[in-house]
Symmetry: C2
Subunit: 425 residues, 2 copies
């Protein structure tokens, strides 16, 4: 039986043209993040299944590619459930493995520890255009830095990288989970309602103020609470200084004052420091409707918005409680994930060309050039390569014109032809 | 329950120090191979299980990490065998996925197609020191080049890369499957004995001529055949020009003359061209006992031997019959896999330092430096980073001396201290 030529469902082969852009983007990322003191690390693509199914990953936990036990441990015929036959799974993101890595190796790592991780992750999503079941993530994280120096450095490093890749006029939207909670609590929602309220609030940019109101009411929340909450948000829309407005309104609600005020102050510092030190062309924007899906965030949260591109191109935030789940002792942690696949897509669609590519020359060698004559041609190619050129040595086709057209399409600019007769001299 | 801090059995976390070397090696590999016209590609880590279990991978097929079916397709309780519950597996090498990739995308790829693939592979080997269940392979392959220009370019590109990484005085051992077969056939072995004979021959460097003889006899081969075969090999050991010797001896055996003579001529050309054009410090060596495990090889085979390091540091060969298994039509193919993990290990053990690392400066910022003062420190760091420096901004610890020692160990050479009082001015 012939073997299957197609990749597995939902995954894809990456062609040379796109790989050039991917390699270039990875190069810029590694070079830029290194200047901020981030160190590359790598974790296995496979994790223990218990670590992947422990409610850190939200819906992603439903999408895990699971790995079968091997040898004597596997008893298929006797098994009644999945749990009995699997022991590992492919990671669905880089955060859970990174936190495990930090917990496992903290004694050998510097403090603060600044990590850069670029790697594939897998999710068995329903296959759809533009979304694949294997894709690359690119995360930077800082462990052991409790102050907002962590947020400032993460945002500066990421925006500088985006700037070097040619992105301009984008926004970093920022909010704080503590502020979100203070605003909800101040309006009368109780703690156990927060997750549900935030899921609705997150849709503000899609369904608008009226849509949010309708959905909150539909979910059974009291009219008075909902009105008070949305009044806050419509006030925010009008306010010139959103953070100032929030601070004043929260001050009216005695119980939420401290929590909210600290968050407001923190956001103001982050925004101020980033604006003062930024090198790329972007704006910091306080976005009180920014929620970020994962429930593990504990402080500031942020997201990249690129004009003309729906959805975010990356995001992150503070998650001070996750290391404790592995070690029993919390460690401050904050991360920023750059939307690698989206950035590659945007560059590809904009006709991006990798800069500073070396000169490409193709040597066309006539059939019959063999032995010493061929060795001479190759020695010439070697010398040009040593000098930094890209040299392709190929046999000359019968249809030389067509061959040159093909090579031109591949980026070869210059052609040198070698003939049997000429080389005999 | 606390989560598990350890990586899954047999896999490992890679610490920053080793990652610096890995990143550097990958950079040199990509830069050098690109000059030879090799284009980066990527295939999914998961392949259809049928492709992975079709006798291309030898013993590796027993070591596959298999992936469970999902959703309705999975019927654990009814299943009696593995086959019923899995649909994919993690690749055990890069060759099978590459050939599938070429078969799938040939219409969009240049001809000849020169591919560079760097990626992880997985094998559920018994865990042992220095061998891991996830490791990185690095392969270059050429499709569509029938002449030995392919072998010459593969060997030159790989040896140039090794030279740039600082390796000297190594050997490329070369042989040809056709020559192996001609020598076996000329001695009286029949085609169906070849695999068994070659497995024994492969042990020559470990068990010596007497050991090979004993094992062949033990396996039931006729004394006359075995003696004739080993006489050839002992003659080879004495011969000044091994290829000349083989050619002459094969000429005595009418039936094997053509096949053997072509192989001898091909090896002579490859060795000659490589020696004439090489830029690294190494020797080409005809090794008549070189076998290479995989049975898919059809022509020249080669291996890297680095002095003082037992075992090979990479190898490859021609496999002209594998594309046909996917498409029904054979395409000439030849590849060289560099032993990435071994090279990293050798560099690490030799105390290798990544060259041209940027200057590293650490800013130690006293507690209490906040707001505008902190923004000023960060702006200063930004300027140094723009200039290419690596700058770490950290809070000053109480034990500043210890902190500096730690940072020195991480490679920071210069320290700048920022105090609350000084910044007020």
């Amino acid at each position: 039986m012939a073997l299957s030529k197609k990749p597995v469902t939902g995954m894809r082969d990456i062609l040379p043209e796109e790989m050039q852009i991917r390699d270039y983007v990875i190069g810029v990322i590694k070079d830029t993040y290194r200047r901020y003191g981030f160190a590359s690390i790598e974790t296995p693509c496979v994790e223990n299944i218990a670590n992947l199914t422990n409610k850190q990953g939200g819906d992603n936990e439903k999408l895990i590619f699971k790995i079968l036990k091997r040898g004597e441990k596997l008893k298929i015929a006797e098994a009644a459930t999945e749990e009995e036959v699997v022991d590992g799974g492919l990671r669905y993101d880089l955060t859970v493995p990174l936190v495990r890595y930090y917990s496992n190796n903290a004694a050998q790592l510097p403090s603060p520890f600044k990590a850069l991780q670029i790697g594939n992750v897998w999710r068995a999503d329903r296959p759809q255009r533009g979304r694949f079941r294997q894709f690359t993530q690119c995360d930077i994280d800082i462990f052991g830095e409790a102050s907002n120096l962590a947020e400032i450095e993460l945002i500066l490093a990421t925006t500088t990288t985006l700037g070097k890749l040619g992105f301009q006029g984008f926004e970093i939207r920022i909010n704080d989970r503590q502020l979100l909670k203070a605003m909800a609590a101040g309006s009368g929602f109780t703690e156990r309602d927060f997750d549900s309220v935030f899921i609705t609030l997150d849709k503000m940019d899609k369904i608008g103020m009226d849509g949010v109101k309708a959905e909150l009411l539909e979910n059974g929340f009291a009219v008075g609470t909902v009105d008070k909450y949305l009044e806050l948000y419509s006030g925010l829309e009008q306010a010139e200084d959103g953070l100032q407005y929030v601070a004043e309104r929260l001050a009216e609600v005695q119980a939420q004052e401290d929590q909210g005020a600290a968050a407001v102050e923190g956001l103001r510092e982050i925004i101020g420091s980033v604006e003062a030190a930024k090198t790329a062309d972007f704006r910091m924007v306080f976005d009180p409707t920014l929620v970020r899906g994962m429930s593990y965030y504990t402080g500031p949260i942020f997201e990249i918005a690129i004009p003309g591109f729906g959805g975010s191109c990356g995001g992150g935030g503070r998650y001070d409680k996750m290391v404790g789940k592995f070690t029993g002792k919390d460690v401050p942690a904050c991360g920023f994930s750059i939307g690698f696949e989206r950035i590659v897509l945007l560059l590809t669609e904009s006709g991006f060309r990798v800069p500073d590519a070396p000169k490409r020359t193709a040597y066309l060698v006539e059939k019959g050039v063999e032995g010493q004559a061929m060795a001479d041609v190759i020695a010439k190619a070697q010398a040009a390569r040593e000098a930094g050129e890209q040299v392709l040595v190929v046999r000359m086709n019968k249809n030389k014109k067509f061959q040159k057209e093909q090579l031109t399409a591949e980026g070869y600019e210059e052609f040198v032809e070698f003939y049997r007769e000429a080389l005999k001299n």
